[in-house]
């Protein structure tokens, strides 16, 4: 089977992001970049499906030249080939991104459709929740988001989404689009040989003209800092006082 995973290069989470004074960009001097965590899981899920059912996994991204690093990372953990849609250093809005991806998918499907197209549930940086849905709509294929389980059947895919009370199962005809959520599986690390192989992989480029959508960025701002206050309690009596204050006793 043929699986496409759409990924996005995002700053590695964990460190405080420094917004440049102009409010338009972030300081990337000491930042590492990674694949959005949901998408990292999507790549792993796709690789496992191919290991189980045969076939190949294509990864695709729209982003700056540096995003080739993320494509190669995906190859190093089992993806077969990679497509980069160059988009410069600026983030495209979800509509423009979805249009470009749709065009690129059309091009990549000239010799046959992907059975599955996997997206992350949302990107780790802008968190728009839109691109996958827009692409599935444009392609006229069914899509379910928030998926933590994928099973391939004959001509269908069964998807599991966790809810507060249990889980929901969906059966979609193939070809289909899936929004994968972190936790579906544990992504593997690249092996040294995998990494070496990824260096040799051919990363194809698809040029897509930007057709701006209806969303534009005004400014970036850091959320208010969460101040954590730690009080060291030196004895049990102090702990009792605090609990009484909090109404716990």
């Amino acid at each position: 089977m043929r699986i496409l995973v759409c990924i996005k290069r995002v700053p590695a989470p964990g460190a405080r992001i420094v917004v440049e004074p102009d409010g338009q960009t972030i300081d990337t001097a000491n930042l590492g970049f990674t694949i959005s965590p949901h998408e990292e899981c999507a790549v792993e899920a796709a690789v496992q499906l191919v290991e189980q059912h045969g076939g190949n996994v294509t990864v695709m991204t729209l982003g700056p030249e540096g995003a080739e690093e993320q494509l190669r990372h995906a190859v190093s953990v089992g993806a077969t080939d990679a497509i980069l849609i160059p988009a410069g250093e600026r983030d495209w809005d979800p509509q423009a991104t979805a249009r470009a991806l749709t065009d690129a998918i059309g091009d990549a499907e000239s010799d046959g459709a992907f059975d599955l197209i996997l997206f992350g549930n949302e990107s780790a940086d802008s968190g728009g929740y839109q691109v996958g849905v827009r692409v599935s709509r444009a392609l006229g294929r069914p899509m379910v988001n928030g998926i933590k389980g994928i099973e391939i059947g004959k001509g269908v895919v069964t998807l599991r989404r966790e809810t507060d009370g249990g889980s929901e199962l969906y059966e979609l005809p193939l070809p289909a689009v899936v929004g994968v959520k972190e936790g579906i599986t544990l992504p593997r690390y690249p092996t040294l040989r995998g990494r070496l192989a990824s260096k040799k992989a051919d990363v194809r480029t698809f040029e897509a003209g930007e057709q701006p959508g209806g969303q534009s960025m005004v400014a970036l701002a850091n959320p208010p800092e969460q101040v954590k206050q730690t009080v060291m309690l030196t004895d049990a009596a102090a702990a009792v006082d605090v609990m009484e204050e909090l109404g716990l006793l």
């Binding site: 460190a15 405080r16 000491n30 690390y189 690249p190 040294l192 040989r193 990494r195 260096k199």
Partner: protein, 833 residues
């Protein structure tokens, strides 16, 4: 609320391995009211210590670093934070095999057990290594791994247990206040601390902190990449942190070190990647820590194949972690230690885990006693001249040597970058004569002149058959030597550092600094040691009395920075002595050889005859049209003078002398003669080689018959040394047979080769100092290859037969001179006629 005290005896900035070691050793030496500050949290504030690989290969070609590393291992062992899995350096090339033989030699010098091993033995020690890709290895059982963070905690707690230390973590230094060139306070975000002593032990941030006090610490934060690969069942099976020896894959500039169930693979093979101290991210801007930056994998990729080739099982293992770890690099790859130009502000920077506690102890001794037990001259921060502290110089030099971290570096190797920074007036003539320039304190100094190549045949000088021995050497040097002895040579000694001292207090001041009597008649000059407070060598130099209240000090280009600092910090506070650095104002040419007087007398009206111009005196003369100062002295053992003039007259002076000497056989003579062959034939000692703070003038054979009545630095120790028998004596040895096992004539480079008994045993004096070659080189006029080295009195007997080890082979040597009597012209009649 701040618990910071308002005052302290000493503020140590930094809680990495050095800062932590320092607070302990200061407390051990009796310091109280120590305050230690770090911007980060404890026990890992986020500096280089926190991500260090923590392994220690104890053998180093450099004596100071080897001593500090061995001391550090002893300290880690005492703290119970060291394990000893052993370590192997493997060779993939024949050149590396030779380097391993050289390392064996250094191991012998420092008394470290190690052995060369075959590929099969390597794979026996490290079964997952493919021995078909290596030619051999060098195994050191005492290679260790330490827990540097735990060591830090232990050392802090020991200082706290002595009630000597207040620790302030999460405290940022905002300013280091200086008044009248002295440090007075450290300002932090939690308060101001008044203090007379501040130690900058901030690793990669050291330049930033020192800059607050107006001081430059020449250091660049540089990336060292490492990745963690695993899990690997072979390693998991050991059940411990490290069960297999550490492997250094020297030819690929990489290492493989077990960390529990995985393998840490580190590299010094990637491009130099430098940062700036001000741009290092803060703790909260860092994914891991400020000094564990995101791995730039493209830089590591080329090394992956090498790693897999050596250890195939790494290929299928996963890369779980990788960093661009920051560490400190300096222009000459040595640490930056000692008091800076601001009094009371100390640098303890550019220190790695392997030497951290040893350096901490060294600096604590230095701060307490005025000088440490281990000679620190090669890491003294004062060694750098101003241009060597510029950002460009630091980065250029660090770029050049980063990939030599595991490289094969020849003892005479010359830098390629940052050249032509100090050029004297004779330079154009030197270029015309095909000079091969070596760097001396930044100066471009001719080492030999290709224009003299014809002299090689004339004097029948043999080449050296082994490339290593011939590297950065030429037979022309020996030919120039012989030509000088036959006629007259001109030597560019512009690299001298020159300081003038004037003022009403100058006589007392100079007498306080120097061992030998300097209250001499105007026009006399004195060669004298300067001592540390413990009576070891701080320097040796020449002091000329040019006026009633005017002295001129001339010292070596390699020593000028340190000597300048030593003179400055000992200047009287009352302003009665003025010091002026004249190095850039004055140039010097040496004219030596039996025809020297004939030559100079042709271009001066002044009387330069033996009676009118005795040895050891100075005269102001006119040479041609150039005002000059002549100093009758010789470092090469022949009649002649150092001739000084203003820098702008230099070229004219050279041309005048050169022209006058044409029919006298004048030869341009390089520093290969001045610094090695001429010097060694005369047994003259060199600062930093024979002369170190660990030896006394008595042992060096430089004690004069009488001691002056005036007090001087180190006098008490000097008197004590004179009152007892020396425990070592500087000797000149001759090499009796150069033939190696392969039948090739070998010529030692003089890089600390051990001097051994005929049984092959190391020779160690009663103070634990090992006998080793301090200098080596040809003695063309005596027809022998000469070596200098200290021997205990039992061996320092002329005619005693011994051996030296060179490249792991033994060669017979003989003690030719015990003491300072020159081998060539023992009566000094050539110089003093």
């Amino acid at each position: 609320m701040s618990d910071l005290p308002g005052g302290a005896n000493v503020v140590v900035i930094g809680a990495g391995i050095v800062g932590n070691g320092l607070v302990w050793h200061l407390a051990e030496l009796g310091w109280k009211d120590i305050v230690q500050i770090d911007k980060g949290p404890l026990p890992n504030p986020g500096g280089s210590t926190g991500h260090a690989s923590n392994f220690i290969f104890p053998v180093d070609h450099n004596k100071e670093m080897a001593a500090l590393t061995l001391d550090s291992q002893a300290q880690y062992e005492e703290m119970g934070v060291q394990v000893t899995p052993g370590g192997i350096e493997v060779a993939r090339t024949p050149a590396r095999l030779e380097e391993l033989a050289r390392r064996m030699t250094s191991a012998k010098s420092w008394g470290i057990d190690s052995r060369l091993v075959s590929p099969a033995e390597v794979s026996e020690l490290v079964p997952f290594l493919d021995d078909s890709v290596i030619l051999g290895g060098w195994y050191t059982p005492s290679v260790s791994v330490v827990d540097s963070l735990q060591a830090g905690t232990i050392m802090r707690e020991r200082a706290q247990a002595k009630e000597a230390l207040t620790v302030a973590s999460n405290t940022e230094v905002l300013d280091v206040e200086v008044a009248a060139d002295r440090v007075v306070a450290v300002v932090t975000d939690k308060g101001r601390i008044e203090t007379d002593h501040v130690v900058v032990a901030c690793g990669v941030w050291s330049p930033r902190i020192a800059h607050m006090a107006g001081v430059t610490i020449p250091l660049v934060p540089a990336v060292h990449q490492m990745i963690d690969v695993g899990p690997l069942p072979e390693l998991q099976a050991t059940g411990n942190e490290i069960g297999f020896p550490i492997v250094r894959d020297m030819d690929t500039f990489m290492y493989e070190r077990q960390t529990a169930g995985s393998m840490e693979v580190g590299s010094y093979a990637h491009r130099p990647i430098f940062h700036r101290p001000d741009d290092i991210p803060s703790l909260d801007e860092s994914l891991l820590s400020p000094t564990e930056l995101p791995l730039t994998m493209d830089d590591f990729d080329p090394q992956l194949a090498d790693a897999i080739e050596l250890m195939p099982f790494l290929g299928e293992a996963e890369m779980r972690y990788g960093i661009n770890g920051l560490l400190s690099l300096t222009p000459d790859a040595m640490p930056l230690l000692g008091e800076t130009e601001v009094r009371g502000l100390w640098s303890a920077a550019a220190v790695w885990i392997k030497e951290g506690p040893g350096i901490a102890k060294m600096i604590a001794e230095w701060m307490t006693d005025g000088y440490p037990e281990i000679d620190p001259h090669s890491s003294d921060i004062a060694r750098f001249y101003p241009y060597q502290r510029t950002d460009k110089h630091v980065r250029d030099r660090c770029s050049e040597h980063f990939n030599k971290t595991y490289g094969i570096v020849h003892p005479r190797e010359q830098w390629e970058t940052s050249r032509l920074a100090r050029v004297g007036p004779f330079y154009p003539r030197s270029v015309e004569l095909g000079a091969v320039f070596f760097e001396a304190g930044g100066w471009e100094r001719p080492h030999w002149y290709e224009a003299n190549a014809h002299l090689v045949e004339k004097y029948g000088v043999e080449d050296r058959p082994h490339e290593w021995d011939a590297r950065w050497w030429s037979p022309i040097q020996n030919a120039e030597h012989l030509a000088m002895r036959d006629g007259v040579g001109m030597v560019d000694v512009t690299a001298f550092a020159i300081f003038d001292f004037t003022g009403p207090g100058v006589v007392d001041y100079i007498d306080t600094m120097a061992v030998n009597q300097c209250d001499v008649a105007v026009g006399r000059a004195v060669y004298t040691p300067l001592l540390t407070h413990d009576g070891g060598f701080k320097s040796d130099l020449t002091i000329m009395r040019l006026g009633r209240h005017h002295y001129r000090v001339v010292t070596g280009g390699f020593d000028g920075g340190r000597d300048s600092h030593w003179f400055k910090i000992n200047l009287p506070d009352d302003g009665s002595v003025h010091m002026e650095d004249k190095t850039s104002a004055i140039t010097t040419v040496g004219v030596w050889g039996p025809n020297a007087r004939d030559l100079v007398s042709r271009v001066t009206e002044d009387d330069i005859g033996h009676e009118a111009f005795p040895y050891g005196t100075v005269k102001f003369v006119t040479i041609g049209e150039i005002p000059a100062m002549m100093f009758r002295i010789s470092y090469v053992g022949d009649l002649g003078w150092e001739i000084y003039t203003d820098m702008e007259h230099g070229l004219k002076l050279w041309d005048t002398l050169w022209e006058a000497g044409q029919d006298l056989g004048v030869t341009a003579v390089g520093a290969g003669v001045y610094g090695t062959t001429g010097r060694l034939e005369k047994g003259y000692r060199l600062m930093g080689a024979e002369l170190e703070s660990e030896y006394t003038p008595v042992e060096a054979g430089l004690a004069r018959p009488k001691v002056k009545s005036a007090d001087f630095i180190g006098k008490a120790a000097y008197l004590a040394a004179r009152a007892s028998e020396p425990e070592a004596i500087m000797c000149t040895l001759t090499m009796e047979d150069h033939t190696s096992a392969a039948g090739i004539k070998r010529f030692p480079t003089g890089g600390n080769e051990p001097i051994l008994t005929l049984d092959g045993e190391r020779i160690v004096d009663s103070q634990g100092r090992v006998s080793r070659v301090t200098s080596a080189g040809a003695g063309p006029s005596v027809g022998k290859f000469l070596l200098l080295g200290y021997l205990p009195p039992s061996h320092a007997v002329e005619g005693t037969e011994l051996q030296i080890m060179y490249m792991n082979e033994l060669y017979p040597v003989k003690v030719a001179v015990a003491g300072s009597t020159p081998l060539f012209d023992p009566q000094d009649s050539r110089m003093k006629q």
